[in-house]
Amino acid sequence: MSSPASNARLLSYVDALAEAVAQEMRRDASVFVFGCDVDDHKAIQGSTRGLVEEFGAERVFNTPLSEDAMAGVAIGAAMAGMRPIHVHIRMDFLMLCMNQLVNIAAKSRYMYGGQVKVPLVVRSVIGKSWGQGAQHSQGLHAMFMHVPGLKVVAPSNAHDAKGCLTAAIRDDNPVIFVEHRLLYYADAFVPEEPYVVPFGKARVCGAGGDVTMVGVSNMLVECLRARELLAEVGISAEVIDPISLVPLDIETIVRSVGRTGRLLVVDNAWTCCGASAEIVAAVAERAANGRPLQARRMGYAPVTCPTTPALEAEFYPDPAKIAHVAHAMVRPDATPWRPDQRHAELAYQVKFRGPF
């Protein structure tokens, strides 16, 4: 992704999602899209735009507000040979599907002795800002990482959004596809033709030797901004995008930490029992070179997400906070440093463009 392919053009994350689905629906008649509001004029904030017009109401349809049963319907249809994409405009609503996803989707292949497969994509969007608050903001990917039988993927840019969604649709297993609302209008160079970004392969998005920063979903973008801030004070951070959390490419992270000795994982979620905890633990277990590992985690404050911007700003990690923590890890004896506030604007306030 370092140099754009010849047929690549700048495309937003949201358009990349819609393009991936449209291309796979053209390719495979068993693919269908359903969920609350997928076929209305807002089209899940644009991510399902054009699908019902091209493929018709049999393959793109709204559902009753019955997430529990609809998850089961998706599983049954998948077992019968179809490839459903079940869409949720917020990840918080996946709690209504939890029984089906955890007790049936994740387990069917195993508990039925390999007699069935469940090629299912569950798309969901993590919200942030504009007062999204307690129940429109949660990054709950760790809950799904915990359960064997589910793949979990959280692309951070338009290129990976298209490639991962294509891979998810073609995968013979249930895939929890984690999107982030603030990434929707970020552009990246995206090839026109269908392609797959394989799961289980992390990407080093910026090389560095002082500290390894792993950013999940939108926090990858925040880490890249933090990396720029750190460069201003002579600290070189390596930023890694895991892309998929299950399967997780721990080796790429271990290799980086083997050089830097320092690991900072920034998740778009709480830290307790989260992806950040898993990554730090997995690296610690594999650190075999005898070098002490310095590790930190950052994520949501351990509270419910508030709505007012005054408190919400405190709730999330941002580039300045990330840079501050990374600086303290690299230079523990130096005076604590806070980046220039003008430079420390939230990453989404700067029009961010991949590729990295």
């Binding site: 269908f32 049999e58 559902t63 009753p64 019955s66 529990d68 049963a69 609809m70 998850a71 089961g72 319907v73 998706a74 599983i75 049954g76 249809a77 998948a78 077992m79 019968a80 040979g81 179809m82 459903p84 029984n99 089906q100 007790n103 049936i104 069917s108 292949r109 195993y110 508990m111 039925y112 002795g113 390999g114 007699q115 069935v116 497969k117 469940v118 090629p119 064997p148 039988g149 793949k151 995968d171 013979d172 297993n173």
Partner: protein, 329 residues
Amino acid sequence: MRLQALNALREREPSSDDLERIYRSLRLIRRAEEEIARIYPSDKIKSPVHLSIGQEAVAVGVCEALAPDDVVSPTYRGHAALLAKGGSLKGMMAELYGKATGLTGGKGGSMHLIDMRHNVLGASAVVGTTIPVAVGYALAFKRMKSTRVVAAFFGDGATEEGVFAESLNFAALHRLPVLFVCENNAYAIHTPIAKRWATERLAERVASYGIPAARIEDGDVLAIRAQAADAVAKMRGREGGPHFLECRTYRWREHVGPNEDYDAGYRSRAELAPWQRNDQLERIGVLLAGGHRAAIDAAVEREIADAIAFAEDSPFPEREALFTDVFAG
């Protein structure tokens, strides 16, 4: 005692072949489960068992109305539905023993039986969870322009789960070929309906979704067969759409395990008596021509003995099997 609405169907009197097939199926389920109960205390069976003894007529009657390529979705009390649909007795018995030759190679046990070769979907130990999965299977059939149907079995307890209502609504809305079959044995584990339902008008509740609903009170296997056949014919016809069948029945043994539990205090043996007098196995058995019943009984005994021998002689799975089939592909 029986509700009405069966007049047209009663014209379809079963032939002697039909009766023999029905008897054989009832007999196979009854005797297989009696053997499971006999073996259970030996600890050779490595799985909790929820026996269908007394409830066989529902599965047998419904499966009589299905074609081989139709699909059933059983519950964790699912030996009856699996066997009635023609699922593998050997595979089931080996599965109960935890053997590599079991239907799921020892991964699922009695509560997660499945036999896709015979169009038996997997069962779940979480009540009601298979109902929407069955509906999804039917959605795929409709999308594929197939005339196949899905019979989704569940108990009276499952109708209290929210997903039941959600599934009914969606199946009715999309006119999906699902036959919802409620095996109403009047207890959710040990709790009677009187403690769980404000009214017993289940079929009326379902009908309000726009789903034709019938209730059969006395467990009459021929009535269930006729009603199911009528529903399936309509589901395959121009109108299509789901149908609902509530079959009253009675679980003769304990909720889980091989024994009776009439001394436990939550129900009386007097409650069992009319169901035993109305035992469909006996009722159909006496209708068979002389000598045929004994021949069927003998064949069933051989089949069960073979399945038990197969289960006992089969190996346990290799250690490596622990890590297979977490993911497909």
